[in-house]
C-alpha cells in the first residue's frame, strides 16, 4: 500500500528563506492596509466632520504641505534631537544606578523603595518646578523627558542586571577577579544586550512624552507644531504629527534591532 500519493510532499519554492521574509512583510503590510482602509472608510462615512477626523489621504497631503511649505523637517529634527539627548542623559544616570542596584543588595534595598515610588510620579506635574529652575529653554524640555523615563529605566535595568547567571559570577570570582572588575567585565557585559533591548522599548515611552514636553514654552518641534495646529483646529496637521512620531518611533526601533544584531551576533546565530 505504499503509494506515491501517501508521501505528502508539498511543492517547494526556489528560495524558501526569501519567501519567508516576503510573507512576513506581506502579512505586516496586510495589517497596515486593513488599518488604513478602515480609517479611510471611517473618515468617509460621516462619523465625524471631515475637519475633525480627516482620512489618511488628507493627512498625507497635509504632511506633504508641512514638509514642503512649513519647514516641518526642522521641527522633526528638533524633536529627534531632544529625544536623543534626553534619553542619553537618562541612560547616563539610570545605568550606573540600576547596575549597582542589580549587583549589590545593599544599594538595592536603599534605592528600590525610592525608585519604585518615583516611577508613579506624573511627569507633567513637575513642569512648574522645572520652569522655575531651568527656565523656558531646551533644558526644561529635556529634563521633563528625562523624568518621564528615568525611574522606569532604573527599575528595569536593575531587574535585568539581576538576571546574570550565577555561574558567570562565580567563574570570575574563582579566577581571582576583584569585585569591581566583575561588575564591569561580567555583570555589565553580560547584561549589555538586554540593556539595549530595554532601551529600545523605553525609547517608545520617551516619544509619548514628547508632546507634553514640547507644549510647554513651545518654540519648535513636532509637539509645538501640533500645539499650533490645535489653535486653528487643523486636525489633519495634528494627525500628520502623530504619524511622523509613529514613523520615527518605528525607525529607531529598527535601528536598535539592527544594532543588537550587529553588536551581539552570538545571540542571533543559533
Amino acid at each position: 500500500m505504499t503509494t506515491a500519493t501517501e508521501k505528502s510532499k508539498p511543492p517547494r519554492f526556489g528560495n524558501a528563506v526569501l519567501m519567508g521574509r516576503l510573507s512576513t512583510f506581506g502579512l505586516g503590510l496586510l495589517g497596515w492596509l486593513f488599518f488604513l482602509g478602515a480609517w479611510y472608510w471611517a473618515a468617509e462615512a460621516d462619523i465625524a466632520p471631515d475637519r475633525l477626523f480627516p482620512g489618511p489621504d488628507t493627512v498625507i497631503a497635509s504632511l506633504y504641505e508641512l514638509l514642503v511649505e512649513k519647514n516641518f523637517a526642522a521641527d522633526i529634527w528638533a524633536s529627534t534631537k531632544r529625544i536623543l539627548t534626553s534619553f542619553a542623559i537618562a541612560i547616563a544616570i539610570a545605568l550606573p544606578l540600576g547596575l549597582l542596584m542589580g549587583a549589590l543588595k545593599v544599594v538595592d534595598r536603599v534605592l528600590s523603595p525610592l525608585a519604585g515610588a518615583f516611577r508613579y510620579l506624573p511627569a507633567p506635574a513637575f513642569i512648574p518646578l522645572l520652569l522655575m529652575w531651568l527656565g523656558t529653554g531646551e533644558a526644561q524640555k529635556i529634563a521633563l523627558l528625562v523624568i518621564g523615563v528615568i525611574f522606569f529605566l532604573i527599575i528595569m535595568i536593575a531587574d535585568t542586571t539581576r538576571q546574570v547567571p550565577k555561574v558567570f559570577l562565580e567563574t570570575a570570582k574563582t579566577l581571582g577577579l576583584p569585585n569591581y572588575k566583575i561588575l564591569w567585565s561580567v555583570i555589565f557585559r553580560y547584561s549589555l544586550p538586554a540593556y539595549i533591548d530595554l532601551f529600545r522599548q523605553m525609547l517608545a515611552v520617551s516619544w509619548t512624552y514628547l508632546v507634553i514636553a514640547e507644549i510647554v514654552a513651545a518654540t519648535d518641534g513636532i509637539g509645538a507644531m501640533m500645539m499650533r495646529a490645535k489653535r486653528f483646529v487643523h486636525v489633519d496637521d495634528i494627525m500628520a504629527g502623530i504619524l511622523v512620531i509613529g514613523i520615527l518611533g518605528l525607525l529607531f526601533d529598527a535601528l536598535f534591532r539592527l544594532l543588537h544584531r550587529l553588536a551581539f551576533p552570538y545571540l542571533h546565530q543559533r
Partner: protein, 318 residues
C-alpha cells in the same frame, strides 16, 4: 429641546453659568456645563458639533473667521479692570531693558497683544524681544526662576509673583486708560456657527440666561459668589478677588457687563459706558486684534467683523 453643551475654563469670570443653572434662569433650557481647561480644545469641539458654546478670552473672532473655524463671537461679556498686569522682573525698570530678553506670554492670546502694545508704546519693537509661549500657570515658575524678564499675568497669578518677588514691579495694568477705554482685555461668549443657524431660539435663550445670571449676581453678590465658587471648586476668597464682593465694578478685578452695557459695546444700542469705555467698541477691538494677528502671522488676511461676530442672539436677548 436638546440640552445645550457649553464649556469654560476655571476662572471666576466664567462662573455665571453655574448661577444660571442652579437658579433656573434658563427658561427651561438645559445646560450641560464642562470645565475644559484648554480653550482650543473647546473651539475644536464646537466645530464638531460636540459643544455649542464656550466662554473664553475675546481674541479668537478674527482667527476663527480667517481660518474658517465654525465659531462666532456672540457678545463681549466683561473687560478686565486691573486683573491683568505686565510685571517686570527685579532690576528691570524700563521697556528698553527688555531688548534681547525673554518675555513670557500666551501666544495667540490677548495677553500677547497687551504686551505688544505696551512694548510698542515704550519704543521697543516686538521683534526686539524673545516671546516665549507659556500658559499662565507655568509663567509664574519661569518668572520666579529668573528666566523671563517680563510677563503678563492675571489674578491670582500676578499677586503670587509679586509676593514671591517683592522687588518685581508692575509696568502696566488694565485699569490704564488706553486699555480700559478700548476694553482691549476681556472675555466673550462664543457659539458654534452651526448652533446659531439651526437653533437660533436656543441661542437667544442661552444669551439671555447668561445675563439673567449676571443680574442675579448683581442683586445677590454673596450668594452668587458662593455658587460660582462651588461650581468651579474654588475658595470664595479666590472668586471675590476677581469679581469683588458687592456686584459692582472691581478695580483690580473685572467689570461685568449687564445686557444693556453689552449691547452698547456691541453696537446694538446707543448709550455710554462707565470708565469711558467706548460705545460700539467691538469694531475697534476687532481691528486692533486683527492688526496684531496679522503682524504675528496668525492670520493671513483681514476679515470683516461680520465674518466672526453674530449679534443676533444678543439682540433677541435684550
Amino acid at each position: 429641546s436638546e440640552p445645550v453643551k457649553l464649556s469654560l475654563f476655571s476662572w471666576p469670570g466664567y462662573g455665571f453659568w453655574f448661577i444660571a443653572k442652579e437658579k433656573g434662569l434658563t427658561e427651561g433650557l438645559e445646560l450641560d456645563i464642562s470645565i475644559i481647561e484648554d480653550p482650543y480644545q473647546s473651539f475644536g469641539l464646537m466645530t464638531a458639533g460636540a459643544l455649542h458654546a464656550t466662554s473664553s478670552t475675546a481674541e479668537y473672532g478674527p482667527i476663527a473667521a480667517d481660518k474658517d473655524v465654525g465659531i462666532k463671537l456672540v457678545t463681549y461679556t466683561n473687560p478686565s479692570y486691573g486683573t491683568d498686569k505686565i510685571i517686570l522682573a527685579p532690576g528691570i525698570t524700563a521697556a528698553e531693558q527688555l531688548k534681547g530678553e525673554t518675555v513670557a506670554v500666551l501666544e495667540g492670546g490677548l495677553t500677547q497683544i497687551f504686551m505688544a502694545e505696551w512694548l510698542t508704546d515704550n519704543g521697543v519693537d516686538i521683534s526686539e524681544v524673545n516671546f516665549t509661549n507659556l500658559i499662565m500657570d507655568d509663567a509664574v515658575g519661569a518668572m520666579v526662576g529668573g528666566t523671563a524678564a517680563a510677563a503678563e499675568f492675571w489674578e491670582p497669578f500676578g499677586s503670587q509673583v509679586l509676593e514671591a518677588m517683592p522687588e518685581a514691579t508692575v509696568a502696566a495694568d488694565s485699569t490704564q486708560e488706553k486699555y480700559i477705554t478700548t476694553a482691549l482685555l476681556g472675555d466673550a461668549l462664543y457659539m458654534a456657527t452651526e448652533f446659531l443657524e439651526s437653533r437660533p431660539e436656543d441661542a437667544a435663550k442661552l444669551t439671555r440666561a447668561y445675563f439673567n445670571a449676571v443680574d442675579f449676581w448683581k442683586a445677590n453678590p454673596t450668594e452668587g459668589n458662593k455658587i460660582i465658587a462651588k461650581g468651579l471648586n474654588f475658595n470664595v476668597a479666590d472668586v471675590e478677588q476677581v469679581l469683588g464682593k458687592d456686584g459692582e465694578i472691581l478695580k483690580g478685578g473685572i467689570f461685568v457687563f449687564d445686557r444693556k452695557q453689552a449691547a452698547i459695546f456691541m453696537g446694538l444700542k446707543p448709550g455710554t459706558l462707565p470708565l469711558n469705555i467706548a460705545s460700539d467698541g467691538m469694531k475697534a477691538h476687532w481691528d486692533i486684534t486683527t492688526d496684531w494677528w496679522l503682524k504675528f502671522g496668525f492670520i493671513d488676511k483681514r476679515m470683516p467683523m461680520e465674518a466672526g461676530v453674530d449679534t443676533t442672539p444678543l439682540a433677541k436677548a435684550l
